[in-house]
Symmetry: D2
Subunit: 342 residues, 4 copies
């Protein structure tokens, strides 16, 4: 049986990435693609790289008959997403890729996003979409909230270490290097090729990045007490990839053992041998996450590094992995393609 | 049934690209990977992006038992390839990705490559691997010679137009823009990131590029008379992609009609509507070739533009497409993934 | 004596490039910087790379007292420029970097830009700013119209050859590869890093680029008869640089001799030895233009290649060179810095 | 008076950068350029971007008559440099750009570089070339040892803070993002455009980078006790630039005040207002270093970020600045050009 799929917000990068992935999925068929401002266009006019696919014409959300839809991906902007989702059928399975349902606490949501939440009921049923840590909940969820791409990277690095208490919780620093597609297709001066290429810089310095809300929520959950890490993202001149360098206090062997144990049977999380470090070029376009551990020359200090593709494992690939679980498909379906190198 | 596959020259870019593609092919299994200087290493040590795959350890060619192999890809350097292939079992199906068996005429080979050919017997049975134009011969071939990546791009553009005589044969100019992976993993100063990025330049100017031998051979075949085009490649700061801009004399509608007719039932060659032009970003990592036609403001002048990925449709994808034919597989197997954008 | 300089439109790339160049010019002092929408900001807030300079605060054009200004650079958008310039003092020396005063014929202007010209009087006195060909007129001009950056590149290549009649006027093809800063700081989807990097494509194909108007005007002037060339620009993933590959009919030695003669005493135009070709990486950030000539394998066909930096020699460097002439300064002042490589 | 300058090792990036800078220096003339393997070539053949300059033909070191030389820059590889310098005239002023004379302690040298030092006498007289901290010693030095480019960046960030004891000496983490030209023109697979562009990764993780020797030496000197920081460099796909993100414990205002006081009268070190962070794109091609301070959301934690151009302020610009001091020139001569943006 082929599952009928709708994608709302198909004209952004995560929407296009979903189409790329689903085009290789034997058990899914895209039956509706919505993009409000581009309704009426063919997908090939918006994304010529998808020209070879037979896809429905872009439409408005209101034009979709959801009765025949098995699962709906929402790749809409933050805030728009909660408004749209609150109006969708109550029995429709949904994977949301926005930030709207990630934070379980309404106050935390308001603190990081500045507005009151418009769909508190849906928020309360949403499951946080970090597959490897919420797998069983996701299987039976109706609404799954895709994680932030930076959040996913940091959580893969640190969640097992905090859970296992093999690192000092008061000295965790996460220095992140993020490619530009994470900012989406927004028209901003600093995202222009002439501005971005050949240069790099930190942003949201000092703990002000919104994904911090996800770190706080998830780390406190496993630590059982408030926990604040330091997190500094940097924008680098590349299109895909997140590289996270974590500085922690602990024993390198214990750190590596903990990660190996946590991810031993995971299909997409690969822990490297002691001393090896990942590179974003080796996961580009794939759903894999590589993690490496190195002991520092200072005794008791460890560097842990993770790399994943923000559009795939950090967003649309994660969404598809969750959808597979929700629909009873093989979790890996449509996601086992190798990275593109060079 | 799963076909047993060997890849010789697995430590170069085209070897790695073959592994990437075959990893998604349900009917093929890689049973041998040879790389003389890296024998003994795991593929993941040479190409960490393939870490998730179970692959044979790299070996020397002499260590392979070819009796169980259904088809062998040779991704070896020029000249090495002919020496190796002349020593392989005479009934082994082979797809060669080097330049060694592309030119049917021994003198032409010597003219462009500077040395006498060391495997004339095999050369005489080799079929030129431009799938869309040699499909039936390839089905029954034992040895298929993969085309040059620049040659493929120019041939897709021009072969139908020359065949149909809709353009003036004495005024054909092909200005090509080539990404750097076409030069392979060679250690040359001008391929360094610090040298190449942020700049671009023509090379092999004046008709001296070796792929010219392929143009001459194939164009003369369909024109039925000697035919010389002008061809200037340029190296641009990107990793994958070839963009060919052809300037021809003729009628734009006749040119477009001819291309549409030639490629109407081809799964990988896509002709765009009149006036639209392709971009390398829309075919990256895929086996598709996009072709567009535009009338110039000067009456009787036409610009035809083609784009493909040099490592996929221009090399390893083409090789797999040919192998599919030789093994009786669906020609498209393992090759329908969408391009990676952004 | 130090000349007092104003720059209108200081918040764009050509404005910033003028500041960069003038900061090394001993005979000029910037006394006014206008940018309507950013008035009130310091230049360092708009362009942090100019932080080390003492510069006037950005103001509105209406706030400038032009009585003390010796020369004004207008780096405003097309159409805005003619409106502003028509209101400036009639005795103010002006170098305009927009397209507004390049075309001497009002009908040609309307044809290429779509609107009636709003400052026909100023247009009639404007001198075309291609320094090497209008030097004496520029010395005494009040208003100089900077050329298009693509136009400059093509004109340097072809003007001497057309003047000397050493090439066939009916078979001139100009294939151009342009870096992205030529598009300015405009917020367009296709100029985003995620869209542009790693890919390239032609645009304005078929003779529709506005700089064609400049080619037609200047080529007809020296040819003494109507002359249409073919011109196709391509956008490549680099920030600075234009590379023009011209395909012409003629004798390579005659072509090289003609170029050598034309540019023998020019400080910024460098003709390479026969067979050598330029690269944009070797002129980046400088006011130099490199030109190379290669004979094709087809007798009577010649490839001529030129490279320059669109923001320097193609725009702001050219503007400063012209301003030097207008003010009686050494033409080279502020312009002899070496290219930045790597 | 014009000082006569020799450059040994003129065929590398730092050699070419010296030529670029000195070409704009009114008080220096290059009279000898040595490059052993390229002796006999013109500089324009090795570096076509310097084509416009009149420069001596490349020669072997042995061919230079040092009697007329006022100052010699040595841009030779490590180890070669000490061998060459030990054979130069004992009264020749030398600025060495290699690592050979940076470490005052012979054991430390052997520890980080693996071999015994071959020029201990010269080592003992060498002054460490971090201009802002050794200015008076440099004025009278005969031999100045240029710093590592990563070392310079980290030292500018941290030396004043450690000196003033405004940060906790046991919790200093330096996460660095380095452009590729810092690796020189070496032919290594991981420096190829196809390998490096579009990806990034850490290297020398765990405190094994050789510039660590310089950090240890300089920090211990001002701290008055052994001091170990953590330092992880990352290679990013850009050509020029180092961005260092330091995580320290202290008070943000005290940190900023300390940096402001340390660099108040420095021409090249610019401290940004509280909360602003630098970008490598704003110092490219220049001798400036930008430093910014941000308070973390965790009380008592501070992020300090520095950016400079590894080839200019991190190497050849620093060398010229030191040469200016040694020759009694204005320290800023030849070094005040603005960064190249975009």
């Amino acid at each position: 049986m082929t599952h009928k799929i709708a994608i709302l917000g198909a004209s952004g990068y995560t929407g296009a990435e979903l189409v790329r992935l689903i085009s290789q999925h034997a058990g899914m068929e895209i039956v509706a693609l919505a993009a409000e401002r581009k309704a009426g266009l063919e997908m090939a006019q918006v994304f010529p790289h998808l020209r070879h696919l037979s896809l429905p014409t872009l439409c408005k959300i209101g034009e979709i008959d959801f009765s025949g839809i098995d699962l709906c991906f929402c790749a809409l902007p933050h805030k728009t997403s909660q408004e749209v989702i609150s109006g969708l059928p109550l029995d429709l399975k949904i994977v949301d890729l926005s930030a709207d349902f990630r934070l379980r606490d309404a106050d935390a949501y308001k603190k990081w996003y500045g507005n009151d939440h418009a769909a508190l009921e849906q928020q309360s049923e949403a499951v946080y979409g970090l597959t490897e840590f919420y797998r069983e909940d996701i299987r039976t969820a109706r609404l799954v909230a895709g994680t932030g791409c930076n959040a996913a990277t940091g959580l893969y690095l640190l969640l097992p270490l905090i859970s296992a208490a093999v690192i000092d919780l008061d000295h965790i620093i996460l220095d992140m290097k993020c490619a530009v597609s994470g900012a989406g297709r927004a028209l901003k001066e600093n995202l222009l090729h002439a501005e971005l290429s050949e240069g790099y810089h930190p942003y949201a310095v000092g703990g002000t990045h919104r994904h911090m809300g996800e770190f706080d929520q998830e780390f406190e959950r496993v630590a059982g007490r408030p926990l604040r890490i330091q997190f500094t993202p940097h924008l680098v001149p590349a299109n895909r990839g997140i590289l996270a360098t974590a500085y922690v206090h602990g024993d390198a062997n214990a750190v590596l053992d903990t990660l190996n144990a946590a991810y031993a049977s995971e299909p997409f999380i690969q822990v490297l041998p002691m001393g090896e470090v990942p590179s974003t070029r080796h996961i580009r376009g794939s759903n894999f996450c590589h993690i490496g551990v190195v002991a520092d020359r200072i005794d008791g200090r460890v560097i842990v590094v993770a790399a994943l593709d923000n559009l795939t494992k950090g967003s649309s690939g994660q969404a598809l992995q969750n959808a597979n679980l929700m629909l009873g498909e093989d979790e890996r379906a449509g996601l086992m393609m190798a990275p593109l190198f060079p």
